[in-house]
């Protein structure tokens, strides 16, 4: 039987939690859906050793225990139709109907190819944080953190809290830009406090601006990295490299529903108005998929979307706070803009598509993702081009091709028993 909800919220990070809570206060019946086992998203991911941050704990408890909210954990959206979602979980597939939909799918890391990046032991920066919070062993391990943005500091702090020996943080932005960013932080007192706290937690760890990891060395697993900075080239023996170049909005679900996207540089985000309405009626979007803005703007936009989806106007103060939080995103983008050399790290024989083991040189001569895919299988694997697509766009090759169902690899039984009404009619 198909469950019916007034509002379905996809993603239980700050944006999704805020949306579910706001909608529920108006009496709406809400389904809160997330592929992970625990609510919180990435920024509020539960740490098995240390629990949730206090603010996250409060929001999660309130949302998940609200009598109008149904929490659907470890549930993946594999297909979306107007007013209906096909969901898959360990127990099987189900369809739910919704009157309004709030998309809060968040973002993933921008992971750029370089020689050795496929070695076990090389992860994203946020990735290492996520893994460590779920028990990934770091005690006594030598960890190098690299890439770009304030996320590197958070990743280093998490690694250290889990017992890692953090050898250094290597930021690609130059020192002048990072200092300008630091000086602008007074406009967001909470961020400034967070930064001060992190500085304390990271005491003694070298922070080098204008530096990149050129190569990861190892045979069947990571053994060392070569870091290049103004001081020259340096080889560091290490057990773990965490390297992330920022975040990319997860727009696949919005795109499959026909929501208009807008280009921000080489990556797309979901276009919304001040009330977080997408270009499609009854579909709202909030948080990182509307452009990388961080936890605070995600929470505010989630609230605005939740109120709007329930048919209630959001308070003017919310809208004002959201604009201020979004300005932080602009500061991030400006000061941590990627330097050209980051896009030249991949060599002709560096694998770009990790699912199908396709090298950069195998993609020479293709100017669009579709023809590259047809000829080489690039982007055809299990990640559906999520990793290589963003990388190739950043490298200036071609943008990722459009999304096709299912949104994630799904079991045949999930698709077979649950064809959408349209598909069913056309196949009879």
């Amino acid at each position: 039987m198909t469950e019916r909800y007034d509002i379905a919220v996809v993603g239980a990070g700050p944006a999704g939690l805020a949306a579910a809570l706001a909608a529920a206060t108006h009496g709406a019946r809400v389904a809160l859906i997330d592929a992970q086992a625990h609510a919180g998203g990435q920024v509020w991911r539960k740490d098995v050793a240390h629990g949730w941050p206090r603010r996250a704990q409060a929001a999660i408890t309130q949302a998940l225990h609200h009598p109008h909210v149904t929490w659907l954990a470890q549930t993946q959206v594999v297909h979306a139709d107007p007013h209906s979602l096909l969901l898959e979980s360990a127990v099987g597939a189900q369809r739910i109907d919704y009157a309004a939909l709030v998309l809060a799918n968040g973002a993933r890391e921008l992971l750029l190819p370089f020689p050795g990046w496929t070695l076990p032991g090389v992860t994203g920066a946020g990735a290492l944080q996520a893994l460590a919070k779920q028990g990934w062993p770091l005690q006594g391990r030598r960890v190098v953190i690299a890439g770009s943005g304030p996320l590197l500091l958070a990743a280093a702090a998490t690694a250290r809290r889990h017992g890692a020996h953090v050898l250094g943080i290597y930021e690609q932005a130059d020192a002048a830009n990072v200092q300008r960013f630091a000086r602008s932080l007074w406009r967001w007192p909470q961020k400034a406090m967070q930064a001060a706290l992190l500085r304390g937690q990271l005491a003694g760890i070298p922070y080098r601006c204008g530096s990149v990891v050129r190569t990861a060395h190892g045979d069947s697993a990571l053994r060392a990295v070569t870091v290049e900075s103004a001081r020259g080239s340096e080889r560091l023996d290490c057990d773990q490299l965490a390297v992330g170049y920022g975040l990319v909005p997860n727009t696949e679900l919005a795109q499959s529903l026909g929501c208009r996207l807008r280009q921000q540089g080489v990556h797309a985000s979901v276009e919304v108005d001040a009330m977080q309405r997408s270009s499609v009626a009854h579909i709202y979007a909030a948080g990182e998929q509307c452009g990388i803005g961080g936890r605070d703007s995600a929470w505010l936009e989630g609230s605005i979307a939740g109120h709007a989806a329930a048919g209630a106007p959001a308070a003017a103060s919310l809208l004002r706070q959201q604009r201020h939080a979004r300005a932080f995103a602009q500061a991030l983008e400006t000061h941590f803009a990627l330097q050209p050399r980051v896009r030249t790290l991949a060599q002709p024989d560096t694998l770009i598509c990790r699912c199908e083991d396709i090298s950069l040189q195998a993609l020479d001569g293709y100017s669009d993702a579709r023809s590259a895919k047809l000829a080489t299988r690039c982007g055809m694997g299990a990640c559906q081009g999520r990793i290589c697509g963003a990388a190739l766009a950043e490298l200036g090759r071609f943008p990722r091709s459009g999304t096709r169902p299912p949104l994630f690899p799904a079991r045949l039984a999930s698709l077979g028993d649950n064809l959408s009404d349209n598909h069913r009619e056309s196949s009879v």
């Binding site: 992970q36 076990p120 090389v122 992860t123 779920q134 062993p137 299990a382 690899p409």
Partner: protein, 82 residues
């Protein structure tokens, strides 16, 4: 916070782990790679959040499960690529 312990099976070896950790963490505790790529290279988690699919393993007979998104359960049978 000291968590309760439970036992899972990885490639035929019993492993006692803390309750609540991911299958990915359990495999890393043993120091095992996760899967072989189509070209035969060893791979392990990259994104840590269910996007890259590099951590796919067989769990309780079901292939292609993302180890980073799965929490250990007592008696769970995990097989990495061999």
């Amino acid at each position: 916070m000291s968590a309760a312990r439970l036992t899972i099976d990885i490639n035929g070896h019993a492993l006692e782990v803390a309750e609540g950790i991911s299958v990915a963490a359990a495999i890393a505790i043993l120091g095992l790679p996760f899967r072989r790529s189509v070209g035969g290279q060893w791979r392990a988690p990259l994104c840590g959040m269910g996007v890259c699919f590099e951590c796919r393993v067989r769990i309780d007979g079901l292939a292609q499960q993302r180890a980073c998104m799965t929490i250990v359960r007592a008696g769970m049978q995990v097989c990495t690529d061999d």
